[in-house]
Amino acid sequence: MESLYAIELRKITKTYGKEKQVAVDEVSFHVNKGELFGLIGPDGAGKTSIFRILTTLLLAEQGEAWVEGFEVRHEYREIRKIAGYMPGKFSLYPDLTVAENLNFFATVFDTTVAENYELIKDIYIQIEPFKDRRAGKLSGGMKQKLALCCALIHRPRVLFLDEPTTGVDPVSRKEFWEMLKKLKMQGITIIVSTPYMDEASLCDRIALIQYGKILSVDTAENMVKNYPEQLYAVKSNQMYLLLKSLRKYPEVLDCYAFGEYAHVAFKNAFEAAPLEAYLRKEGLSEIEMKAVEASIEDCFIKLLKS
């Protein structure tokens, strides 16, 4: 069956336990074919549950979902043939070597390493020097690369990556996103979840999620463009005092730390002089102010607070 989207969810709801704690709350969105789609939200937002529903590991209580046109409840066998999945936690056999892990997953998917070697070549050559090492003895970055190879070994049409960069240092994270870009060029649809807001701009489109609800789905660019207020970045010699002072300032609508700056939104038009005078009076120095464009993190904060 030919479908319009690579992934589609319609009002998917999933609850857990006797108390019916809602993990996923009427979630609807779609992922286009060949897209690199990001599901961005903190821990416990419902990202993993959505991934498990899409990969046919969990059944949703309500709603419908399709992967490449296959319905997740009844056509799970088809989906399992075309989906590649890398769960959040380490999911290799620590007592098997790199090569053994890869060969094993290849046969599980009824293929061989040689058959799809082209696809994983770029990633695999980085871990090839360690191919006889047990997977449990690899470094974090290496494990992640091996897990990605294993998820790709059967040339899946849709690749599900559940928090692949969580707990990984910034250098390895960058490398990982480079790999994803290359895979995208091979025509694989990729859906990736992450708690890191700064990874949003690396995706074609993103969905922001919290408490099981989708807050917004769009390109990162559009989200930023549609941010309602003008944001200003204010810096001084002391962050905590700056934040406390700004919160007391009557014109301030919202303010929070953002890296070395505090991001501030004002109720009315921004006037630099009185604010600077006020801050000096509060005992701050080295004051610097500028208008800034909102980031995805600003958007997320805005959506969470509204």
Binding site: K89, F90, L92, E100, N103, T107, V108, F109, D110
Partner: protein, 368 residues
Amino acid sequence: MKQFVNFVRKEFFHVMRDRKTLLILFGMPVAQILIFGFALTNEVKNSKLIVFDQAKDPASQELIAKIEASRYFEVERSVMNEQQMEAVFRQGEIKMAIVFPAGFNSGLLHEHHAQVQVIADASDPNTANMLSNYLSAIVMDYQSTRSKSLVLPYRIVPEVRMLYNPQLKGAPNFVPGVMALVLMLVCVMMTAISIVKEKETGTMEVLLVSPFKPILVIISKTVPYLILSLVNVASILLLSVFVLELPVNGSVLLLFGESVLFIITCLTVGIFISVKTDSQQVAMLISLMGMLLPTVLFSGFMFPIENMPYPLQLFSNVVPAKWFYIIVKSIMIKGLGFEAIWKETLILAGITVVLLVISLKSFKIRLS
């Protein structure tokens, strides 16, 4: 099929690389056989005996000679009166005394009735019980040779024991017991743990998302343990034949066939436990408490089932190890063929089918 073979190979990698577990798997049956065979032997040899012979007639002398001739007792000393006897007992070295009343011989000859008193130090009740059994067996043996017409009502009791175990050896009873125990441990616990481990490491998620049939995942995980268990059965039998000098009287092939049946029962239980639990500790606890304990208690291997309250006797019927224990005893010791154990085999097979249906029904193709 290639997938399946590959999967089984992977399982063997897991088993072979986990040295400690491997050592336990192969060491356990050896250790158990040796411990039960030698250290905890039920057999008592050359136990010291006091004789208080008030009769001092031909019959009592004859009987004493017979006792001394047996390999179980050694007449340490004779005492002249009860005080002396009590003093010896208090020293604690001698556990047993036999007392002949005056006129023992004439009693036998004229009244067809004579008494001997057996006094045992019952501070170790098991030993005391065993020794008095041995002693009365010898006494009875003597009586039957002396007078064929003499029928004693309690003669039947030791006869059962001696019929299949003429040397009164303890080993025949525990070899089948150890076999049931070891198979239970390997198949139930190891299988459950190895499946749950995949859940814990997250690899189960990946396997479930693959086109490989979930049920095959489970089945292929059990294959190595089936083979390991057969190796264990073989090593137990070899040990019992060559070390304990206890031959297999019946068909070895039949014994292996029945073992495979029991192994499948155990594997099914292991799968069921693994489906119901999510952590290795819980799986281990359930396997130990839920399976091993009933095996020890209700298979009849350590505690005779006939002595249990009726409800427990009924319960023992659903413990698969009980039937396996009976089957192995029949083949190994009594040397019986399939026609004698088809009923037990049928029951065991029935239990297996029920368990198999339950565990396949509870098995899920998804996570929860």
